[in-house]
């Protein structure tokens, strides 16, 4: 039974339980946990009154021979800078600023492992799936770079603020100054044989 304490807000119903069931999963027939491989396609859900959903029929297969390890490793440096452009022609101004930054970086002979531009208010969340926007009151330009050399990423951070006075007109939103250069700690999920891990529990008073 999935339920919750009364008076705590929220809602447990078929829709919310189904959304949770499909949240961040891969193959629903084999949801791997350390104790069992669950088959989410075997589950039956039933509405059992307010904030109560009954789950029956759950099946699975034995636990896997391996355990998941979350490894983290150093993966270079990144910086993300933003500038805000307003109406009129906010999108055109933000796009022009992006072109200028990219041309400047090319002239400086700087290259990056990744460079990504997003336009907040236009396509930052949904990319090409966003419907066209015409003539918005404001757009935030967001440019991010990532590379293995800290100095190169640092150089990029000096190319945004000059645009305020020498780029498309009425740029703002630069109060924080240069973007911060941050170390990238990347995530590498992998597997190890279960026998290699010896569980030990210590209670510290």
């Amino acid at each position: 039974m999935i339920t919750k304490h009364p008076g705590t807000g929220g809602r447990v119903n078929l829709a919310s339980v189904k959304e949770q069931l499909v949240y961040e999963i891969g193959d629903p027939r084999a949801y791997i946990t350390p104790d069992v491989v669950a088959d989410f396609t075997s589950i039956r859900l039933a509405d059992d009154g307010r904030d109560r959903v009954r789950i029956t029929g759950a099946r699975g297969s034995p636990r896997p021979a391996t355990l998941k390890v979350s490894l983290n490793y150093f993966a270079g440096w990144k910086a993300i800078g933003t500038l805000v452009y307003c109406w009129p022609q906010a999108i055109e101004k933000a796009r022009a600023a992006d072109r200028i930054v990219r041309e400047r970086l090319a002239q400086l002979g700087l290259s990056f492992d990744a460079m990504e531009t997003e336009f907040f208010g236009v396509n930052a969340c949904h990319g090409p799936a966003a419907p066209p926007v015409s003539d918005p009151p404001e757009v935030e330009l967001r440019i991010g770079v990532r590379g293995s050399d800290r100095g190169t990423v640092e150089r990029f951070t000096r190319e945004l603020v000059p645009l305020v006075l020498s780029g498309p007109p009425a740029a703002t939103g630069y109060g924080e100054g240069r973007p911060q250069v941050r170390e990238v700690v990347a995530y590498w999920p992998t597997l190890i044989p279960r026998e290699e891990v010896e569980p030990k529990v210590e209670v510290v008073e």
Partner: protein, 110 residues
């Protein structure tokens, strides 16, 4: 008639590294067959264009009336590596609600 996916389904999305998934849940049991017919892996891949570089797998959960789409190389490297604002793919499910699908009048309850 053409309708947005939002009329017959709700979505939840998230990440595992550079892999994003979207769970598409039928609003009514009888809408599940519309989802199976209309929302193919190919359509989802095309919908997101160059945002999803890898393959899209579709898994079926007929017991709860849901489809799960697993999209590879979908988050610009994912997690801390990604330069995107939505590095965890939290907004991709909402994006998919705009997908236009075909449904007959008699298939729809309202």
């Amino acid at each position: 008639m053409r309708i947005p996916l939002a009329r017959v389904a709700h979505c939840r999305s998230g990440d595992k590294g550079d892999v994003a998934n979207i769970g598409v849940v039928a609003r009514e049991e009888c809408y599940y067959s519309i989802l199976v017919r209309e929302v193919t892996a190919e359509r989802v891949k095309a919908f997101f264009g160059d945002r999803v570089l890898g393959r899209v797998d579709r898994f079926e959960l007929p017991n709860v009336g849901a489809l799960n789409f697993v999209m590879h190389e979908a988050l610009g490297g994912g997690g801390t590596v990604s330069l995107r604002v939505d590095a965890q793919g939290k907004t991709l499910g909402a994006a998919l609600l705009r997908l236009e699908i075909e449904a007959d009048e008699h298939e729809l309850r309202d």
